[in-house]
Symmetry: C2
Subunit: 229 residues, 2 copies
Amino acid sequence: MSELARGPAVVLLSGGLDSATVLAMARADGYACHALSIDYGQRHGAELLAAARVAAAGGAASHRTVSVNLDAIGGSALTDVSIDVPSAPSAGIPVTYVPARNTVFLAIGLGYAEVLAASAIFVGVNAVDYSGYPDCRPAFIDAFQALAAVATKAGVEGKAPRIEAPLLHLSKADIVRRGQALGVDYGLTVSCYNADPHGRACGQCDACRLRADGFRAADVADPTVYFPA
Amino acid sequence: MSELARGPAVVLLSGGLDSATVLAMARADGYACHALSIDYGQRHGAELLAAARVAAAGGAASHRTVSVNLDAIGGSALTDVSIDVPSAPSAGIPVTYVPARNTVFLAIGLGYAEVLAASAIFVGVNAVDYSGYPDCRPAFIDAFQALAAVATKAGVEGKAPRIEAPLLHLSKADIVRRGQALGVDYGLTVSCYNADPHGRACGQCDACRLRADGFRAADVADPTVYFPA
């Protein structure tokens, strides 16, 4: 079987650790990976620069960015500068939750899959975020899969793309191990909610903590560069 | 019961005939209507100017526009200037179909509903478009309703907004009659896929034909202004 025998797939690519791993997994599965990044007014724009680097290094067949100004509707610390990103863990759904973010991302991915006649859409949601983010749960992925079956021309023809969430039940350490085995260069990725324009991380936010814990638990060297003290 | 006793609702407002009618229906139902327009790179930008006029005239509590450049993924005559808008009816799904458009619109509406704690999202999909657009069918609305129940914080708390599609089973003539009874000024609306910057219509495209037929069948005076011959 040739390397890309499974045809085109859409890979949602944020520039963070998780989606860089998903890209490597989709490539290893034999898909021609069309990376799709969403510029949603997030304050960590360094992630989008990282996405372009990760797409190139990860052998994506193409990389496009769609902009959607979710800041116009507000409601999250990630898009609204009047809400601070917390530096300590909080109970319940965090203020970094962006309302309906993964619904919007998968909706745009679904449109792109229709244009490409892609058979799969890969998304990097994972178990670590379950408790905090409603749209990182298996029930969400299942409901979006059911929607895809009726929402598009491909769906009507019985060819809806599969929603592939290969990280869904993995810990951060599992993800790091998988990615390392597949040769992902995590030095290119940016996870921090407060990253500076160089992609350097704060080391304080939830995303930084989860990432650092993952490298530590996987016993893999952590290439993250932090702000100067 | 006071006029706006039912609290906030999101109303997707394109500036066309259908959504102007939906706004009037939602207002009559007692909702404080937060109109949401989506600038998705459509060639008929006159629709968005019309949306602002319709929101003001229709008593919307607010009006916001979210931009999402679906032209970056292509695939439709409405967003891709290399695909002509046809001037005669075609069989099957028309080239004016925008892949996953209503999924993207409702996804953004769902995020906005979460921010507003809205109990309903109104959308103007209707029966006349069923045959051509997969995402105008009852099955699509039902699947999105199921998704809304798991996709957001409100859903997790058992308070997902209802997806209200009050035009779903109405003909264009029925829609025009309802709107007229509710005082909608259809002279403010723009439906044409090829509208000029003044909002004047071509009289040739599918949208123009459906609209003109609706006024005729409803026996209501048609205020549409066409291009000079």
